[in-house]
Symmetry: C3
Subunit: 308 residues, 3 copies
């Protein structure tokens, strides 16, 4: 039963609950017009204590496409937080106005505190470097739809694996499916944290490989999940110059990739995927953004209990 629940951590839902959401998203994708009034009279509050246009617009589009309405704020300075109000007080006020809330906050744990003080469902729309569970829903729904399965996949993840919360959540989430292998591609400075290797991959007996260069491993992958590598994260300029091309996806690397490998990216992209790739049928990152909206539509409907 998802009605009335919160979504704070990508692992909050069981595999069965996720399947329920994804099945529902698929129905919406099939005939969106059937769902265009199920949230009539409902209000989503978007409480964004830091700007994140993409995520905010995706939530707002999701609610509007279900027939609901939206209110909220898009940055902290317009909010009562500036007057010293606690997150607990804010959510207790906002639940007077809205039926469900999506909260983005620079501080880890803020959406959790909100959910503990809220009678309406609270969705974590990203809290600091911590969690971003609707991105994980998006990633899973995209893989499930384009690859047709969430099992038996070799998933390459490339870029900054140390600080990327999206990446950590994806690994945790995919580790629950069967016969998953990871190929973790990053510079030395930005390898996956040890706790992910031991607590997540090790504990679940997930096979994984660490690599330094994308070109060395790309031909093995069913999915390539790209993320950005920021120059500032390298220890020295020499390393950066020597290595950076290994983390940029271009036509040459795509030549040795599988015919049915799909490229994902949480966006925004800067230059880690060359624009020339955009027309490659394997480039799925904009379709992924669309799946993000459908995932949020399904999630909102399920948490509000308006799904039919």
């Amino acid at each position: 039963m998802l009605k009335g629940r919160h979504l704070i951590d990508p692992m909050d839902f069981t595999l069965l609950e996720l399947e329920e959401i994804f099945d529902y998203a698929d129905e919406i994708i099939k005939s969106p017009e059937k769902f265009s009034h199920i949230c009539d009279g409902k209000i989503l509050a978007t409480l964004f204590y830091e700007p994140s246009t993409r995520t905010r617009l995706s939530f707002e589009a999701a609610m509007l496409r279900l027939g609901g309405r939206v209110l909220g704020f898009s940055e902290a300075q317009s909010s009562s937080a500036a007057k010293g109000e606690s997150v607990a007080d804010t959510i207790r006020t906002v639940e007077c106005y809205a039926d469900i809330a999506a909260m983005r906050h620079p501080k880890e744990g803020a959406p959790k505190i909100a959910s503990m003080n809220s009678k309406m469902p609270v969705i974590n729309a990203g809290d600091g470097g911590h969690q971003h569970p609707t991105q994980t829903l998006t990633d899973l729904l995209t893989i499930r739809n384009i690859k047709g399965t969430l099992s038996n996949l070799t998933i390459g993840i490339c870029g900054d694996l140390k600080f990327g919360r999206t990446v950590h959540s994806l690994i945790k989430a995919m580790s629950r499916y069967e016969n998953i292998k990871f190929v973790l591609i990053s510079p030395n400075e930005l390898t996956i944290p040890t706790y992910i290797k031991t607590e997540v991959l090790g504990k679940n007996n997930i096979e994984f490989l660490e690599a330094r260069k994308l070109e060395d491993v790309i031909s093995d992958l069913d999915i390539l999940y790209m993320t950005r590598v920021q120059k500032e994260r390298f220890f020295n300029e020499d390393d950066y110059i020597r290595l950076k091309d290994s983390y940029i996806l271009d036509k040459d690397k795509m030549k040795i990739a599988k015919e049915d490998m799909i490229i994902l990216h949480p966006l925004p992209r800067v230059n880690e995927i060359a624009v020339e790739i955009d027309t490659d049928p394997r480039a799925c990152y904009f379709r992924q953004a669309k799946y993000g909206m459908y995932a949020r539509m399904a999630l909102i409907a399920k948490l509000l209990g308006v799904d039919k």
Copy 2:
């Protein structure tokens, strides 16, 4: 007749007109679904020249829950004011787009000027330290609903009584009802202005008492209206340390309060009400926020003349 009127000053409406609004709010509270389409096709403009999330969201929720739509801005830098446009010109433009406007402005009198140049109803959503009439409507509707009456009440108001516009408006508004007594609790530096004592309380023969400490008078109160006392407002640090606890409501003080005393607060709260009080059934400040939305729903419907 409220259709087409403005609300600039809390005293703009007669007692009968207020009763009409409150009666209508009660009908909405009883069966909100009956009112969920009365503003179909109508647009509210929220013109917020300074941020006030709580008030803005309350107005927006009110309009959306009536079936209407909302547009506007939430801070001055996004508005044409930055290009030197007068408030009169702005309202004459906005009335091309909207059917009713709520204006928040740092300058006293700005909403008044807007209303004088507007063919659509203008609601003052707070102008500087001056007026905030929908907060007063909120306070009155809350008292009327929870206490069942607006007469025969002893109302304690605690905190900064010198600068608090909410407090001044509440005193003026409540002074029109029968057998009201005020207990005004504040440090010496922040007592109620003389004109309120003479022009409002004196002229209307309202009984009132001034007190320095909340604990000395709390047991007499039917209503305790808390507001914040800012440290910077004290003349010296010693006074602040000696006195501050007298303006913080906690469990000990609540022990000596009446069983049916209700606690109100315009919010946001910082620390003047201890969080431990939130679960006390006498704590009504979050319900007050909900009444705020209903008061605004009734007000918007009445000014637009769409009430049935």
Copy 3:
């Protein structure tokens, strides 16, 4: 066929296409209630990389009055642009959420790039000093409705003719109609650029006259289009003091104007039209703002292909 088209440059549409939009706007003006649901289920994205409240509110009101919904941002710092995302990527993401977009951008050409990467219609809502085609639609619709024609008119344009993009677009657009004469009134420093004189006026054999003082020519005009002259644009203080009154429209100058001359202004106005003029029946600048909303309603409906 306007369905699926973009509007980037005021000259993108033929005279016939413009007529189709204006005719449709007239139908909306006649019975707006007939059009209040034609955009049900459609979403407009307002992508404003720089604030422009007036234009944004006009677009939002237009979409809401057609039954559609709106999402977006009102300034760049809330957008993904801050993270280095290209306009092309942003539009490809936003088209996952919305059905049509209006883009305001400080850089010339940004909306053009967006349109080249977008499967949904993109409307240029102003790009730097370059183009602002919906202002031109507004101006034309206003003239057509109040004067009853777009031909056989003597149009005075007063103020900063050098930098005003509104003015340049208006001249280009009106040069396509029959028997148009221009009277271009500006200080020496701010005369119309040479390329407009040769490429637009000269090439089309349009009669025009340049004047230094409004009072010298106002009696000849059918239309007076006022714009602001900024003090900083003058070469020296003496010139400014000597000349500024010649660019301020007041009662004295209106005495010698034709009985049926109409005054237009793109707004916001600062002091170039004296407030005393506002009640003159020839003052049409606020009606112009209203026509702006209707022009955008017609445009959105046509580009979405929902017009019936």
